[in-house]
């Protein structure tokens, strides 16, 4: 087999272009809407909620060390700061969700039609095919992350112009804005592809578990990522490194497992 000599780049480009035509607009607008909405919420919505007695206990002084919203009097606005600090995790969840929504669509069209059969009949090694699907999913997830982060940043910046509030961010926080969504996007795309090709039924919606167990698994790491930014401010860099490393290693292992365990008979025989 001479699969390793095949040109992966152009094929990923082809799959990505097709995925973009199929799902790109929806993914992009959804990301912009959620990113901008969340950005506005950080500065505009929570000012009246700082009087909640539990908020300062919830936040403590940890989170404001990473990023904070300051009022005109220079005081930390607790709720705004909380939402700001949570942004990397929430944007990560968004990117993860978009990956789980878009990637099955890209694969499903091929599976329900005859595309997958033609691809499997081609001389392209299966592992390379999965990489092409994965690449397309990651590019879509990456574009969603960029759109959401950009619109979030613009919304926050514009909000500060129209309010007396200001925002402070540390370098670790900005790193978290990059690492968490990226990690969640990689993980979600990988696990969703794994499900779509190995256990297509696991992506079907069921009562009480809309989206199926695979989607749940794809989103789950976000739950663990949240505490890493909120409560581990002193350990934020090692925590981010661990999240990124774990996601990368797990994704590589799962891609390998997908290629090893893929059975066209299972996919086409159902």
């Amino acid at each position: 087999m001479n699969g390793t000599r095949y040109l992966v780049g152009p094929r990923v480009r082809a799959f990505t272009r097709r995925a973009w035509i199929q799902q790109g607009t929806m993914a992009l607008w959804l990301s912009v809407l959620i990113g901008a909405g969340y950005g506005l919420l950080v500065l505009l919505a929570p000012s009246g909620m700082d009087t909640m007695p539990e908020m300062s206990e919830v936040m403590g002084s940890h989170a404001s060390g990473l990023a904070a919203v300051l009022g005109a009097d220079g005081q930390v606005q607790v709720m705004g700061s909380y939402l700001l600090v949570m942004a990397p995790a929430l944007l990560g969840a968004l990117v993860g969700i978009i990956a789980t929504l878009t990637l099955p669509g890209v694969v499903a069209d091929d599976v329900s039609g005859g595309g997958i059969e033609v691809l499997l009949a081609s001389p392209i090694p299966r592992r390379n095919l999965f990489q092409a699907y994965l690449g397309a999913g990651l590019v879509l997830a990456g574009a969603s992350w960029m759109a959401a982060t950009f619109s979030f940043a613009v919304a926050v910046a514009l909000s500060t112009l129209f309010t007396d509030a200001s925002v402070t961010m540390t370098v670790p926080y900005v790193l978290a804005l990059v690492v968490l969504p990226l990690s969640m996007g990689i993980w979600s795309a990988t696990i969703t592809l794994f499900g779509a090709l190995l256990y297509p039924r696991a992506l079907e919606s069921r009562a009480g578990m809309n989206g199926g167990p695979i989607r749940l698994l794809a989103i789950m790491p976000t739950l663990f990522a949240v505490p890493s930014v909120v409560f581990l401010d002193r350990w934020i860099l090692p925590a981010l490194g661990a999240v990124l490393l774990t996601t990368l290693v797990a994704s590589i292992l799962i891609t390998d497992l997908t290629a090893r365990r893929f059975r066209s008979t299972r996919l086409l025989g159902t």
């Binding site: 094929r11 039609g113 392209i124 090694p125 299966r126 066209s264 299972r266």
Partner: protein, 244 residues
């Protein structure tokens, strides 16, 4: 295709003791060789025609036995697969994309394969009369138009071996005649295997007939016609539905 690439008996596609199926054997063990010309694959619903065709072009692995094209195994990633064109029962076109976008996608995919030969885009459009539908989304096309696009996708790589799963199903008489002409034309120089439910159509188009019945593959080629002079509709029907 060079003469040396074919087997001694002009065999291009070869199955040896081949057993095909998903979780259980459906057809086989069978041994058969196909050379240039049009071969029709017939069988009743659920007989295993699609499974056999998928196995012959490597979409699903054989349960046992061997399947080769030009003497080379069709297992995952083998280069010989680039010489095989496959048209499945379902179309390989993305319904949300235009015809142009679909053809571009497949062109890019094939372009990523070293040494692949691709027919010129404009020539393909002309040959399959696709100019007027290029900008239309596949979902808005009729079955016949979609099939024409699919045939263009298939012809893009100029394959030496063409395997088609019911390519004429659902086509109006005009489109069906066009596809028949194309298959006949391909059959002059290439190895064409196609499945169909229409015996009269197979008799008109094919010069060899393979019948799937139970686990067996019955070969009704003219020179292997079990004592008969010519293959007729009745002979085929008798084989497909033997007297109780």
């Amino acid at each position: 295709m060079t003469p040396s690439e074919m087997g001694s008996a002009g065999i291009v596609v070869e199955a040896q003791d081949l057993v095909v199926g998903y979780d259980r054997a459906v057809v086989g063990p069978i041994t058969v060789g196909l050379g240039p010309g049009v071969t029709a694959l017939l069988g009743r619903n659920g007989a295993g025609k699609t499974t056999l065709m998928r196995t012959l072009c490597g979409v699903i692995p054989a349960m046992s036995g061997r399947c080769a094209v030009f003497g080379e195994d069709v297992s995952d990633g083998t280069a010989v697969r680039s010489r095989v064109g496959y048209l499945g029962h379902e179309l390989a076109l993305a319904s949300a994309l235009t015809v142009e976008q679909n053809l571009s996608f497949w062109r890019e995919v094939w372009d990523s394969i070293p040494k692949s030969t691709l027919i010129d885009h404009d020539e393909l459009i002309d040959r399959f009369d696709l100019t007027e539908v290029l900008g239309r989304r596949v979902r808005s096309l009729s079955r016949g138009q979609r099939q024409r696009v699919e045939m263009a996708r298939l012809a893009m790589t100029d394959p030496d071996v063409v395997i088609l799963d019911e390519p004429l199903t659902g086509l109006d008489p005009v489109y069906a005649a066009q596809i028949r002409d194309l298959l006949r034309d391909w059959g002059r120089t290439r190895t064409v295997l196609y499945s169909t439910h229409s015996v009269p159509e197979a008799l008109e188009l094919a010069d060899r007939f393979l019948l799937v019945r139970g686990a067996d593959l019955i070969d009704l080629s003219p020179d292997n016609n079990q004592g008969e002079d010519a293959v007729t509709e009745q002979i085929i029907l008798n084989h497909l539905e033997p007297a109780a």
